[in-house]
């Protein structure tokens, strides 16, 4: 009777919990949709399906053309394995969610006692089920569901951050390649100058000292070229990493030069408002408040009676028949009345709330800062392009006339040319800063807020991952 009762109770509990199984791709379509809506990029979770092959082919065909920033982002989305690894966060959160819905398994307790005097041993059997699971499972499930939502936001954020990172790396590399080109021209100018110096020296017209001075200039320019080449190589490798490219896939070439500054200034009204409205970080922080709230509810509920085990015990003593009776275990809240757990959960909640507000302030500020960076870089780039570069060109042209009139020599003329190119370097830098700031703005518009240095603000989980990946 008691055994039957126990079985019955077990079945009942089983019925309460249901047959919970884990679907590891749950939530990914939502993330894909969010990413596509916010950054117009398609993501694929590479898990050994036919879709994988399709993605691989797309990557191959993209790598064959001269890459734009958009192409680079798409390749990275499809091909970067670290990003794939981040998707596993989703699976983990889903597993946690399923786990939270499972009852604790019943405990079967059996004991045999051999009396010292008697012949027959005593048998003791008990089946104990955690009674309050029935109450707590829904609570735990709510916590886990909130955590799963949080995980989805975190992964979406990481993907969007990743697109921004690829974009930034692309512009940095594009600028570096242009720098190499400019530095090469400077070397060419100073080498030509050195060549003339050598001839003057050979003719006996300048001293060893003058020749050495000229040579130092030319040689120094080569060091700067080498340095620029190295920078370009480094940024190329950075991009290779982000693109997930290796082997022959690393032979990609980028599309010419950085795009010019758009004629019309970018008018973004209420960048702060956009940043706040679109912010995944804020949603994430809000979700953490919810998680903390759920956690607090659970803690409160389970504070006084953290565990009540209910069961049946059966005993057969000696040759006597079975004695069956219910059993209950209740911890006496003498020492731990749950106050620490409640306080902890309440503190977590308060922290989540403060972080939410702090994040709002930072997002507003960062949005304004990015807007200013765009405006400043745009002004600088246009100033170089429209004022300084033409003036430098004019100096070279006028210098040519003065050279014709024997007022200045070839050295001065080539130095002016070198300075013109150096101004070109400054222009490229301003242009790069502009596009980097634009990438940051795009990140804001997709709901993520970059730090002034292009890192991440808020979002602890995602941030850690991104930082690890950036680790340089």
């Amino acid at each position: 009777m008691a055994v039957r009762g126990t079985v019955w109770m077990g079945l009942l509990l089983l019925g309460l919990t249901g047959c919970a199984s884990v679907n590891l791709s749950a939530g990914f379509p939502e993330i894909g949709a969010a990413v596509e809506e916010r950054s117009a990029t398609r993501i694929v979770w590479n898990r050994g399906s036919a879709v994988d092959q399709e993605a691989t082919e797309q990557v191959r065909s993209l790598l064959e053309r001269r890459l734009t920033a958009d192409d680079a982002v798409q390749i990275a989305m499809l091909n970067n394995r670290e990003l794939q690894a981040i998707y596993s966060d989703l699976g983990l959160a889903q597993a946690d969610l399923v786990q939270s819905g499972l009852f604790k398994n019943p405990v079967l307790d059996a004991a045999i006692l051999f009396p010292l005097s008697g012949v027959r041993p005593d048998l003791q059997l008990s089946v104990v089920v955690n009674l309050l699971d029935a109450l707590y499972v829904p609570l735990r499930k709510r916590v886990a569901a909130a955590q799963f939502e949080e995980a989805k936001l975190r992964v979406t954020g990481a993907v969007l951050d990743f697109t921004a990172e690829v974009r930034r790396a692309f512009y940095v590399h594009q600028a570096n390649e242009q720098m190499v080109e400019l530095r090469r021209t400077i070397v060419q100018a100073l080498t030509a100058s050195l060549d003339v110096s050598r001839r003057l020296h050979a003719a006996g017209n300048i001293s060893d000292l003058d020749l050495v001075r000229d040579r130092v200039q030319a040689e120094a320019s080569k060091v700067m070229l080498r340095s620029a080449e190295s920078d370009a190589q480094q940024s190329r490798e950075q991009l290779n990493t982000l693109l997930g490219a290796w082997g022959e896939d690393t032979a990609w070439e980028i599309d010419g030069r950085m795009p010019d500054i758009p004629a019309e200034p970018l008018l973004v009204n209420g960048v702060e408002h956009v940043a706040l409205a679109r912010s995944l970080d804020l949603s994430h922080a809000r979700q953490r408040i919810i998680v903390a709230g759920q956690q607090l509810g659970y803690s409160r509920a389970s504070a006084l009676i953290p565990d009540v085990d209910l069961g049946a015990s059966a005993e057969r003593e000696g040759g006597e028949g079975w004695k069956v009776g219910p059993a209950i275990t209740i911890p006496l809240p003498l020492f731990d009345q749950g106050q620490a757990r409640i306080a902890r959960a309440a503190t977590e909640l308060r922290r989540a709330q403060q972080e939410y507000y702090a994040l709002g302030v930072r997002i507003r500020s960062t949005a304004r800062a990015v807007q200013e960076r765009i405006a400043s870089a745009r002004d600088r780039a246009l100033y170089y392009r429209d004022i300084l570069l033409p003036l430098r060109e004019r100096i070279v042209n006028e210098g040519q006339l003065h050279y014709n009139a024997m007022q200045i020599g070839i050295f001065q003329l080539l130095r002016d040319r070198e300075q013109q190119i150096e101004t070109g370097v400054a222009y490229v830098e301003a242009l790069r800063d502009y596009w980097l700031a634009r990438a940051d703005l795009a990140q804001i518009a997709s709901g993520r807020v970059p730090a002034p240095n292009g890192g991440r603000v808020g979002g602890r989980g995602g941030q850690m991952k991104v930082n690890e990946r950036e680790g340089h």
Partner: protein, 486 residues
């Protein structure tokens, strides 16, 4: 003084008489005229000459009647310039000098905003006659105060024109009056004496010629040129003299012009020629050199030199602040160069930053540099004889760097600056204008030697021993001093 002048008159009439000569000696500070070889006048000199006066004597002399051109003196020739007009009011010769800004052309390729007198720069000449009273009104149309100093002239202290010392400044818009009686003759100058570095650097200078009253026949010449030498700092491509420049003067002018804009000194064969040279440049003395003749230096700073002290020269040094008269008889027809012998002074706006490219092997340089500077062309490796190139290569605006002129043989006369040509002709319809290039009689021009001549005289141009050894192996310098380490 009247006494002296009367003696001068006597001298004029009866020059060469023993009595006159004695009187001259007694008078002491009267001057000797230029003496042609075999001149009749006795020379003066010795201490007695100096004892009476260093300053022309007492200033309160009674003036003589104003002298008139043609009647009382033969006007000087002012190439590229003109004498200041005058009128006679109550027995006084009245001039009006106007200090003003002038848009001045040094040459067809170079203009600058200068300051000058009466619309001219360096070439307005005041011409007067010994013994007359002159009154010079000076109107200041400059944006700053000025003053005028009469350089080398005896006058009352208050007329000396040193702004702040002997008179208040001539303020902007003001007209002041200078007046005194001329007690000497000779070649003098006038110039601003307020902020001289700026105002003279801007061109406020001129010659002041005083003719002797009743000059002796010995003094008379057929061509009497007034030539003011000066120097300027006008950087290529600029349009105003740099008056803070202290050493680097790159435009050197005669009467404000550079060759080829300097008007030639036109003479007829046999003319007696006087060149009155004044130098009011900032820093440079000029050894002015004539070709084809020797001349005699006949006067310095308005004082005649006794014949016995004159010596023949082909070059006369005219230091800053000095005047020199030189005279010669133009008996050799031709086009004769007259120029400063400092080679920088017969160039124009040379640049200091142009490296010495002479002897540099230019091969392949253009190809290397043109990708960077498409208009580049190596030059200067054979020197600065590139006048022709100057005409095909674009120059900065307002520049006459390396400019010269094409000469009669089609070759370029690679000179500028302090350079002019004395043109002496047997037949000359008029002294006005440029008579063109001299046609040398055939057989009198250095031309390419013909084979017959070479054969006749045994000149083998291919024989290294017979001619200066051609440099073989290019232009190797003396081995550079290497390994000189301490």
């Amino acid at each position: 003084m009247a006494n002296r002048l009367s003696r001068r008159q006597i001298l004029g009439i009866g020059a060469g008489s023993v009595a006159a000569g004695a009187a001259w000696t007694e008078a002491g500070h009267s001057k000797s005229h230029n003496q042609p070889p075999g001149g009749r006048a006795k020379e003066t000199g010795g201490r007695a000459y100096w004892q009476e006066s260093y300053s022309g004597g007492p200033p309160n002399v009674a003036p003589l009647a104003p002298g008139l051109p043609g009647d009382h003196y033969k006007p000087v020739v002012v190439p590229n310039g003109a004498a200041l007009p005058f009128k006679i009011v109550g027995g006084v010769k009245v001039f009006h000098l106007v200090a003003e800004e002038v848009d001045h052309a040094f040459d067809s390729g170079l203009r600058a905003n200068c300051w000058g007198y009466n619309g001219r720069v360096n070439s307005t000449v005041i011409e007067a006659v010994e013994g007359e009273r002159i009154r010079i009104y000076v109107t200041n149309r400059l944006p700053v105060a000025t003053s005028v100093h009469w350089h080398g002239i005896y006058l009352p202290n208050g007329m000396d024109g040193v702004g702040g010392l002997t008179q208040p400044y001539v303020k902007v818009g003001e007209t002041v009056k200078y007046e005194w009686t001329l007690r000497q003759y000779g070649s003098f100058m006038f110039h601003s004496h307020h902020d001289e570095m700026t105002q003279m650097g801007m061109g406020m200078i001129g010659m002041f010629i005083v003719h002797p009253r009743n000059p002796s026949p010995d003094y008379r010449v057929d061509r009497d040129f007034s030539l003011m030498i000066s120097e300027w700092a006008v950087k290529a491509g600029t349009a105003r003299p740099n008056t803070v420049e202290m050493t680097d003067f790159n435009v050197l002018t005669i009467n404000g012009k550079v060759f080829p804009s300097t008007a030639p000194l036109v003479c007829k064969t046999g003319d007696r020629v006087r060149l009155r040279l004044g130098n009011l440049g900032a820093m440079d003395h000029h050894p002015m050199h004539i070709h084809g003749y020797h001349f005699r230096i006949t006067a310095t700073d308005g004082q005649d030199i006794p014949l016995s002290a004159q010596w023949p020269e082909t070059t006369v040094l005219v230091a800053v602040g000095q005047t020199r008269n030189v005279e010669f008889v133009a008996d050799a027809p031709g086009d004769w160069a007259f120029h400063c012998h400092m080679t920088h002074h017969v160039m124009n706006q040379m640049g200091h930053e142009f490296p010495n490219m002479v002897g540099v092997n230019p091969q392949g340089i253009d190809e290397k540099i043109r990708p960077l500077l498409p208009a580049y062309m190596t030059h200067g490796h054979t020197g600065m004889d590139m006048g022709k190139m100057a005409e095909v290569m674009p120059y900065p605006p307002n520049t006459i760097s390396m400019k010269g002129a094409t000469g009669p043989f089609g070759d370029y006369i690679s000179m500028g600056g302090l350079f002019t040509i004395v043109k002496v002709r047997d037949d000359l319809a008029s002294y006005e204008g440029d008579p063109g290039w001299y046609q040398q009689p055939s057989g009198t021009v250095a031309l390419k030697a013909n084979d017959d001549d070479l054969a006749r005289d045994g000149i083998d141009v291919n024989d290294g021993a017979a001619s200066p050894a051609p440099r073989s192996g290019g232009t190797g310098p003396p081995a550079p001093n290497r390994g000189h380490r301490h």
